[in-house]
Amino acid sequence: MIDPKDPKKTYEFHYVLDCPCGKVLTGDTEDDIVEVAQAHLGAEHPTMSYGPEEILFMARRLVKG
């Protein structure tokens, strides 16, 4: 059984990352969210650095509207 209202529906996901500064970062693909997060870190938190694996682990894969 899938969605009883729309059994053929496919869901589009995106990656969401909540920075502790309050900024919510999003990216459509893994590469996007890594790029967005690293750009944000570089601009707003230059003393912090996270590699792609850590960023992808922190990001949540959620349904996109």
């Binding site: 059984m1 500064c21 309050g22 850590e54 894969r61 349904v63 509207g65």
Partner: protein, 442 residues
């Protein structure tokens, strides 16, 4: 628009024990008619502002210079001191009885006293503002760093499998005391509590959670029981910290904190113990989160069926449960200057309550806010882990814990139903479930 629905009694534990069908219309009525509302609870020395809209809460959460966390973090902190003073340590009682504290300073003394486990040097993340808050948080996040949480996923799955193996299909099982114990079991491992101490440790930690939820209606005998366990817990934490500091080479969370520095010196004991306390709370609150996920999926079998077919949506279902059944119904700040929000004039020193549970159903943010939908799109974030500097430091671990546990549970038991009445906590601070009888099937 006006309605006949009674507005929330924000300070009253009984309100939080009502059925969701009673509570949410009450929140909605206030949110629509008075989104920034000055509420004067009976018996409280002064009122407080209740902010119901997501947008207003985001503003407060992202402006710590305008809204301080130094002067209380929960609604109960604004209680009449005479009704809660017996639940506080002696040094806090003396300070309050001195009578020269402002209302904000009194809230600080109540909140510090209840968190402190009796330790006058206690310093907590939750009662601090930038820049000190950032310094404290960076030490804590060394222990809860993403790489560590990531490395835990296989161990979480292993523990989950052990607990799931104990479920007997078709037989009534209390979810809270079975699967619900996984996060606390994991946390005692991470802290490095010896196996034979774990049950006692969890009992002491649960008492500390009750101590934080200060309650003007608590019976003296219950207060005494809690205080005794909390003192024991504090002594145990002190000994654990001293032991790990003298060993100097462990990899558990307490060893990491013990070996860390804060402002160029070893982390002070009062702060280090507050970190242990944070770890322990993470285990207890994740148990509550798991219980609400299981409850919501029992109440909505068609949603559970979607997850059984599409387990990649389990993470989304966790977020939806956090939105729909938040653990933390509110967060509080104190205005540092006069400021207008939503057309209301908030004065310097006023207590401001962000009603997270209401923002999570805000019609301006969420489509069909009262529908539980595991496929909901999260283009906005719910408020359940707070927002900004004070966002929950254990959120990543809670999400990994709960997603992994439900992946393992649903792989074996995709079906369950309620097998008896659900007992919820009734508390203005944290929500949880004390008993959730379920019947599982394959």
């Amino acid at each position: 628009m006006t309605t006949d629905v009674k507005w929330p009694a924000w300070e009253d534990a009984a309100f939080y024990a009502e059925d969701a069908e009673e509570m949410y219309p009450s929140l909605a009525a206030q949110r629509l008619e008075a989104p920034v509302y000055w509420y004067e609870p009976p018996g409280f020395p002064t009122g407080f502002w209740v902010l119901s809209k997501w947008e207003h809460q985001r503003f407060v959460g992202s402006n710590p210079a305008l809204f301080s966390s130094n002067y209380g973090f929960a609604i109960g902190d604004a209680s009449d001191p005479s009704t809660v003073i017996d639940q506080l340590p002696e040094w806090a009682q003396i300070a309050i009885r001195g009578g020269d504290l402002s209302p904000a300073e009194t809230r600080r003394m109540i909140s510090k006293g209840k968190l402190s486990m009796g330790d006058p040097d206690f310093e907590g993340l939750i009662l601090s503002d930038p820049p000190r808050h950032g310094n404290i948080r960076s030490v804590l996040m060394k222990a809860l760093r993403p790489s560590l949480v990531r490395s835990l996923k296989p161990r979480i799955a292993e523990i989950a499998d052990e607990f799931v193996a104990e479920i007997e299909p078709g037989v009534e099982t209390d979810f809270v005391s079975t699967v619900g114990r996984i996060p606390a079991a994991l946390m005692t491992e991470l802290i490095g509590v010896p196996r034979d101490m774990r049950d006692e440790f969890i009992e002491m930690a649960s008492a500390q959670m009750l101590a934080i939820t200060i309650d003007p209606n608590r019976e003296p005998a219950e207060t005494a029981r809690i205080q005794e366990l909390v003192e024991k817990f504090h002594t145990y934490c002190e000994e654990l910290l001293a032991e790990r500091r003298s060993d100097g080479e462990g990899e558990d969370l307490v060893s990491i904190i013990g070996a860390s520095e804060f402002e160029g010196a070893p982390v002070p004991q009062g702060l280090a113990i507050s970190f242990i306390h944070t770890f322990v709370n993470a285990g207890e609150t994740t148990r509550a989160l798991l219980s609400f996920v299981a409850l919501a999926l029992a109440q909505h079998p068609e949603q559970r069926a979607i997850l059984a077919e599409r387990p990649e949506l389990i993470g989304n279902a966790i977020e939806e449960t956090l939105r729909y059944y938040p653990l933390n119904w509110s967060g509080c700040r104190t205005a540092t200057q006069d400021i207008e929000i939503g057309g209301q004039q908030i004065k310097e020193g006023d207590y401001v309550v962000m009603a997270y549970a209401s923002a999570n159903r805000d019609e301006d943010v969420w489509k069909d806010p009262n529908v539980f939908d595991v496929t909901r799109s999260f283009d906005s974030a719910h408020q359940s882990f707070g927002y900004g500097e004070h966002a929950c430091p254990g959120a990543l671990l809670a999400r990994v814990d709960s997603t992994t546990i439900f992946e393992r549970l649903m792989a074996q038991y995709p079906n369950w139903e309620l097998a008896g009445p659900v007992q919820r906590w009734g508390s203005p601070f944290l929500q949880g479930i004390s008993s959730l009888p379920l019947r599982f099937s394959t």
